[in-house]
């Protein structure tokens, strides 16, 4: 490989990682500051915010890898396996903490009661959609991780399977983004 091409490849890799880490740090402030909000549920809110934002940033980073899988170019499957499994684990924590904060959402005089009394469509349509599709990214990413571990490096020979993993990553990202935006809208409307 010519030296220039190698250096540009290394530069792109460095920039992709820097972009993801920078985005993660800045976005974490969105939820990190929840820890200082004047509510008894600040810990639950902060933890759910931090895990879901981390899941979104990890998922977005993985979409860079997904396009490489779909195009069929040479990629490092060893690293991708662990990145995807890590992202699945963070998504699981996001869903777990989502269940935790959902208790207060449904609690007496919680956001659900307020929303139903004032703008019921946000609960009846948006929350009823969000609470289920937010569970989708974890199984999608787990299936992708399973496929990468099960077939090992031999998966290189099967473009259809690598494309399937790429599509699973893109789908997980789509549902992550939908759940994230819906959750943010609901939190803006009535915080716990």
């Amino acid at each position: 490989m010519p030296t220039d091409q190698y250096l540009q490849g290394q530069l792109a890799k460095f920039l992709v990682r820097t972009q993801a880490i920078t985005a993660l740090c800045i976005l974490l402030a969105l939820a990190g500051l929840d820890f200082f909000f004047p509510t008894n549920y600040r810990l639950k809110a902060g933890i759910h915010g931090i895990t879901s934002i981390s899941a979104l940033v990890l998922g977005t980073y993985l979409t860079h890898r997904a396009y490489a899988l779909i195009r069929g170019v040479h990629i490092n499957f060893h690293s991708l396996r662990y990145w995807l499994t890590g992202a699945a684990a963070v998504n699981f924590l996001g869903a777990l903490s989502g269940n935790w904060i959902y208790m207060r959402y449904r609690g007496q005089d919680g956001p659900k009661d307020w929303i139903l009394a004032n703008v019921p469509a946000f609960h009846n349509y948006l929350m009823e959609f969000k609470e289920f599709i937010s569970l989708f990214p974890f199984p999608l990413m787990l299936a992708g991780s399973f496929i990468l571990f099960y077939y090992g490096d031999a998966i290189r020979a099967r473009r259809d399977l690598t494309q399937l993993v790429g599509i699973l990553i893109l789908l997980a990202w789509l549902f992550l983004l939908l759940g994230f935006v819906a959750g943010l809208v609901l939190a803006k409307l009535r915080f716990v």
């Binding site: 490989m1 005089d109 199984p139 299936a143 099967r158 399977l161 399937l164």
Partner: protein, 143 residues
């Protein structure tokens, strides 16, 4: 491949040619998650039919911490039962399909449009204004 293959990669590819891969396990992993999502959707709409049905679905999730309780701290209610049933269907169907299909090569490109269509339908079925006319129709037909 956009780059030259190393001797190690070439030997890996040769080994792969001798030992064909079966797509069955990958299909099993994706079929089962779709079945899990449909379980979430179906149990959700069953729980909306009446208080009794909601309690019935809820009862499958009593083992989940925070599934019951009232007051400011609340609980996740029948959502626990929907999650528990979805987990059960997902896990069981994955195991069964994996064992059935581990030595079968199922066309991945034939499955993909069905998988994507299935995901679109299940997502839309969580939007009440879209799905409710169909549920009312089903109630009319089956009483």
């Amino acid at each position: 491949m956009s780059e030259h293959q190393s001797p190690e990669e070439q030997s890996q590819l040769e080994a792969i040619e001798q030992d064909p891969l079966f797509s069955g396990p990958a299909i099993a992993a994706t079929v089962s998650l779709l079945l899990g999502f449909y379980t979430l959707m179906i149990t959700h709409h069953i729980s909306r039919l009446s208080k009794e049905m909601d309690k019935f679905i809820h009862s499958y999730g009593y083992w989940i911490p925070g599934s019951t309780g009232v007051g400011p701290d609340g609980s996740i209610g029948s959502y626990a039962g929907k999650e528990a049933l979805a987990l059960l269907v997902w896990g069981l169907s994955w195991t069964i399909f994996h064992l059935l299909w581990r030595k079968q090569d199922i066309p991945v490109r034939g499955w993909l449009p069905i998988f994507l269509g299935g995901l679109l339908v299940v997502s839309l079925a969580f939007i009440h204004p879209i799905i409710d006319p169909f549920i009312l129709l089903l109630i009319d037909v089956f009483g």
